[in-house]
Subunit: 558 residues, 2 copies
Amino acid sequence: MPADLSTVLLIERHRGTLDKALESVRTREYWSPHPEHPKAYPDAEEGRAAYEALLGHRFELDQPGTDGWAGDERSPYGPELGVEYPHPDPDVLLPAMRAAMPAWRDAGPEARAMVCLEIIARINARTHEFAQAVMHTTGQAFTMAFQAGGPHAQDRGVEAVAYAYVEQVRTPEAGEWIKPQGKRDPLRLRKTFTAVPRGIGLVIGCNTFPTWNGYPGLFASLATGNAVLVKPHPRAVLPLALTVSVARDVLAEAGFSPDLVCLAAEQPGEGLAKTLALRPEVRLIDYTGSTEFGDWLETNARQAQVYTEKAGVNTVVVDSTDDYRGMLSNLAFSLSLYSGQMCTTPQNLLIPRDGITTESGPRTYDEVVADLAAAVDGLLGDDTRANALLGALVNPAVKARLDAAPGIGEVALGSRAVTHPEFPQAVVRTPALVKLDGAKPDSEAAYMSECFGPVSFAVAVDSTADALELLRRTVREKGAMTVSGYTTSAEVERQLEEVCFEECAQLSLNLTGGVYVNQTAAFSDFHGSGGNPAANAALCDGAFVASRFRMVEVRRPA
Amino acid sequence: MPADLSTVLLIERHRGTLDKALESVRTREYWSPHPEHPKAYPDAEEGRAAYEALLGHRFELDQPGTDGWAGDERSPYGPELGVEYPHPDPDVLLPAMRAAMPAWRDAGPEARAMVCLEIIARINARTHEFAQAVMHTTGQAFTMAFQAGGPHAQDRGVEAVAYAYVEQVRTPEAGEWIKPQGKRDPLRLRKTFTAVPRGIGLVIGCNTFPTWNGYPGLFASLATGNAVLVKPHPRAVLPLALTVSVARDVLAEAGFSPDLVCLAAEQPGEGLAKTLALRPEVRLIDYTGSTEFGDWLETNARQAQVYTEKAGVNTVVVDSTDDYRGMLSNLAFSLSLYSGQMCTTPQNLLIPRDGITTESGPRTYDEVVADLAAAVDGLLGDDTRANALLGALVNPAVKARLDAAPGIGEVALGSRAVTHPEFPQAVVRTPALVKLDGAKPDSEAAYMSECFGPVSFAVAVDSTADALELLRRTVREKGAMTVSGYTTSAEVERQLEEVCFEECAQLSLNLTGGVYVNQTAAFSDFHGSGGNPAANAALCDGAFVASRFRMVEVRRPA
């Protein structure tokens, strides 16, 4: 039976997207194949209805080796989702996944890329449904769940497919090798080169960005010929179950085994990620989450290539600015977005205790902190806007950290509870800003560890030079997904760059408008550097894909 | 003071070589910038004299942090080298190396590539001197020491430089990002992208191929902006000390700190590699040697990316042939070259116990083994040719394994001592071939472990299908740098390919002429696959270079 989705058809549909993606990562110019505005997707109501139809039911995937059902997601906005997912018997499921791989390998890099892009296109068409699923598992506000969980995540998926494709076709499929031998006949060999997969890729999802953080590894592994087993965070299963479901449909329609992409939901307290991570069939692991488990994976899952994004401490160095209002409003937005529950949210704002210079004169440390607090207050004064920006706290641990903030230092900006009009059970909180003295040892314990959630520290430092030293130490010891700096001094700018070059951190300078340090754009920005303790990989570069396959050469006399 | 070697001058000299290398790895056609015939290098006597002038002296490198002198190399051909090398105090040397890195980083990928190619060109000009140094540390016969230690090693160095260069320039140095915002002004950012090094690269050299196995890691790390510390095998220091010396000269002439490349010689029994491998400054490690220490590095040097080439068990599947003589002479040569002391030498020849088909009729297992033994005898019957092919045993452990061979099974071909006319102390031995029954458990212990040196096993198997299963198990459990097969059956060929695809091993089919399974050519052949236990990296592919640097992005409002 011929496949419904022929490679020819898929190439016609998606080759242009692939080529444009390849061009974009070379130029780093702005490009996205996926509009980000919800209005570009007219089916808001259908999407919401499709999401609601999933609630309270079993999510059927027809995978081999299902030995039960698992799932007890509850929306950070209140409602129980009541969805159950297949729980795997790895001894049955993993061999079935392996068995699906040779045909996928034989399809070659281009056909694999096209199938991956078709999967992403189908996901894109259901963005409203995904947005609801992301919102009700992560607590993101709707617009963010839509954009970050939808088109931006899909962009990162396309980016990974593009990197995976180009890496595999750097070596030709075949070549003739003719070595001259002086007066004798030359030596002649015919050589073929085949990209072969490593095995099963395990994607261990996170609670806050199941699709955005999950897609790069999923599509990088799949596009390089591997099968992919998705183990979602138990509180954020649905967006990835939908993803797996779409992938399985497309694979089957294209004539491949759907078992190339499977879901592994876990029973409460089961620790399934640990079990799966140590299976010999699993040769690639993509993980986003705590440093503790990331380090455990890197240490113990030695049979696999392990790509981790872990905790970090993000710093803003405030030296001087020629747009004080712009700086304050930009920072206020960055601290507020998704209640600071982003791996890219600034945590430590390093401000000289003697103050900074601005276009309208000097401002003391106290003034800068008070002005920033006021900017946050102004941004979030209106409850509708606050709800639209903040979303809900994803879990009780985040709330506990927020509640503990006043015990850390002097509160410059207290957190405020916001009522959500539609979901009164949602825990919505504005961010807290705490003043710390960088020179005090008891402060150091606070600002030198990640306080994930809506708590930031305004750290008084002796000077900008002191701030740069503290930045260097923070990145080296704790890692950082982002570094931000405000300065009008070319010399300080150079010094900031030097610290970021030497400690390997991504730097945003003088952001005062509509671009925020928390956000990176696929095809142009790298997310993380892979070179400091916050992450051992960057999204997305050659290193993220190059080890997901190997080239096997066969040579014969020609 | 301007540098003697300007980047402009170096580009004029070497950019063409880089471009041709980049083209060659894309086409995989034959190419080498370095002639391999000794006669292409007219200074044989000067080279030998230069080598001899080094003997009995201290090898000065003018490195920081030298706290003593070390070295007690003795040629496998007999003579003591009597050369002493600087022994480092890592607490002084490593910080000096780190301090040299920012300027090297700032030079950018092209300037670094040019400096690396100048280093290789200078090494190439001294190939006769290097050949003597390689011969008298590895025991290789002169021609092999010249070719594998000279032009072929230099080729692998150029290949690594090319891969490193292209990986770094995949991302542009800068780009403008303009994101439309409907009716509002677009968002505009200026972005710069800088390839930043990981830290210090540690190259841990091996006894048998100090330059060939050392150059890829050395030049891949150096070309990506890292400093490189070379810790040679204590019995093969001189070829790498010469390399370090040339690199330091070129770096200084080009206006960089020579401390970007340093040598770390060790005192007897010091275990310096372990100490250096765990230093926080060391972020990259390239290692060739035993599985035991390779595994130790992978497990313990967690602060570093570790690239290892370890032990493996190489298999030849003999199913059928239409050129029986060609097969025998090709295999005889492969078993004899450098007394089987290559990581690529076949060890297990799997031959159906019912025999094979050839163009002149069937041959029984016993006949094939006897014919192969006769082919080796014929090849090595003349002592002059035997010496030219075999070289000397590199160390007493190899001789001990050879001496133990008759205890393993029935000897089909005994080893013979050959006298070297110039160096009577050299231990020169022809290879032994031992018959084993693949079905017997006590045989399995022998053929399922690496027996490095001139001992091969003719393993009787039930069938070709049985051979393929044993091949699969061997590669999966023990790893393999090479797999070789002889068959006239398209179906067996396909099955061999399938095993090699699934277990990730490089396959040579039906080699009967002047290409041998032990040899790979830079720019065309991959050495190892990186996907089975024999090695976690291949020479040379994107994965070998992509993690040696990271891209740091700086973005600012445009």
